[in-house]
């Protein structure tokens, strides 16, 4: 059946209010493991010890199993204890309409995300940084500059400040907001002083 319109945050929210009820324990301990096991068996998945697959038929089976997992299980919403489900056409709508290649950053420091293939001769982009690791307030700027100074690095991924103005950035307090804004400002400044003011974070 054709979908009425593409899924977006608003349609997802509406479904999160009306979807099938389920407890989180049932979701975590029954729905997820049983459906994953069922689909593994249905598609006869066996990775045979390979890190990167060479069997294109088995790769396709994994894709179908993942697609079916999303279609048949759906997404559990923790606030409402309901399941949001998509139709097959709604999932294909997203697959057929991805964002095309795009730019991260600005000016001469911008880099372009381009599609790669298995075994592609072009290397991937490098997003260097602490990836959410804890970082002391007093060396936050210097530590992030160590990434911006590396030519191998194309964009920055941030660490997390342990304190801001000496206070812990406790969630849902003004210090959390101050820490988030300070992290971004210090990283942008570190990239600029490293000679890359347009580098994306």
């Amino acid at each position: 059946m054709a979908y009425k319109r593409s899924i977006d945050a608003f349609e997802f929210y509406n479904r999160a209010k009306t979807g099938e009820k389920c407890t989180q324990d049932d979701w975590d301990l029954m729905h997820i493991p049983m459906k994953a096991m069922e689909l593994k068996q249905k598609y006869g998945l066996d990775f045979k010890g390979e890190f990167v697959p060479t069997d294109s038929d088995m790769i396709e089976k994994l894709f179908k199993a993942g697609f079916d997992m999303l279609l048949e299980a759906g997404i559990f919403v923790t606030d409402t204890n309901r399941i949001v489900r998509y139709t097959e056409d709604e999932i294909w709508d997203a697959i057929r309409n991805p964002m095309p290649e795009f730019q991260l950053g600005t000016g001469r420091d911008a880099v372009t995300m381009r599609r790669r293939t298995i075994g592609d001769k072009r290397g991937p982009l490098i997003q260097g940084g602490p990836t959410g690791s804890p970082v002391s307030e007093d060396i936050f700027y210097e530590l992030h500059m160590s990434y911006a100074l590396e030519k191998e690095v194309d964009t920055i991924v941030n660490g997390v400040m342990m304190t801001v103005r000496g206070y812990p950035p406790v969630p849902k307090t003004p210090f959390e907001i101050l820490a988030a804004k300070t992290e971004t400002r210090l990283i942008k400044q570190a990239a600029a002083v490293a000679g890359r003011p347009g580098m994306a974070v």
């Binding site: 945050a9 975590d28 999303l70 709604e90 160590s146």
Partner: protein
């Protein structure tokens, strides 16, 4: 932040979300921001074993584009026992899931790095190199890291880990996949017995001159040693 920065929203384990995240997604779309949808499936967690976790990984990756309208998906299969993305099992989950998404969609995908060892150690460089080889060969568009020492110890990350990630990813690009698997088998075998007693490594302050933002001679020497070891496993640096 500018619209051309990556704006993060995270899914929950496994195939779950909270409504605060949905509001954040609406905000990003309202600003025409680049959206990075993040999710780290847990090997040995709710899904179970290797193939089951890869199924969840593929489903979460597709969901990033259905639910979040993401520009790119940041993956990160992680081992429940070791808290690492660089184990034999989690590398296989990442490699297979990336291949499935790469061959059957045009989605852009990244992966994040959580080695067991801390900075300025050979093991840290070898662990992250294994993931960079896997990610580059399996078609991922962007590599994100490195959260050395499992990303839980204050100040234990430095730019040198990202340098190795870049050098190795470029060198693995275009290499025959059967050869990639042979290199990975030898490389992972060289460190996988040491997860339980991985070297703690040094803090940024201990392995960089923080006035000039320059790695210490020791850090450069450890880097060179790891590079030589990788060449011994068959990786040809480009």
């Amino acid at each position: 932040m500018l619209p051309s920065d990556s704006h993060e929203v995270s899914q929950l384990n496994e195939l779950k979300i909270d409504l605060e995240a949905i509001s954040v997604i609406a905000h990003y779309h309202g600003n025409s921001d680049i959206i990075m949808d993040e999710q780290m499936p847990i090997y040995g967690g709710y899904a179970g074993g290797l193939e089951e976790t890869a199924i969840i990984d593929v489903a979460s990756s597709i969901n990033a584009f259905v639910m979040s309208g993401a520009s790119w998906h940041l993956d990160g299969p992680v081992h429940i026992r070791w808290g690492s993305t660089n184990t034999r099992e989690t590398l296989a989950v990442a490699g297979w899931a990336s291949a499935a998404i790469t061959n059957h969609t045009e989605f852009m995908q990244g992966n994040q790095y959580y080695p067991c060892a801390g900075p300025c150690t050979e093991m840290c460089f070898l662990e992250l190199a294994a993931q960079a080889i896997t990610d580059s060969a399996s078609g991922r568009e962007i590599l994100s890291g490195v959260a050395a020492a499992k990303g839980v110890v204050t100040d234990k990350t430095t730019g040198m880990e990202a340098r190795m990630m870049g050098e190795v990813a470029r060198s693995a690009a275009g290499v025959d996949i059967a050869e990639i698997n042979k290199i990975l088998d030898k490389l992972v075998a060289s460190y996988e017995k040491d997860y339980g007693n991985a070297p703690a490594g040094k803090t940024f302050q201990e392995c960089y001159d923080i006035k000039t933002i320059t790695p210490t001679d020791e850090h450069v020497k450890v880097y060179e040693g790891a590079r030589k070891k990788l060449e011994g496993f068959g990786l040809v640096f480009k």
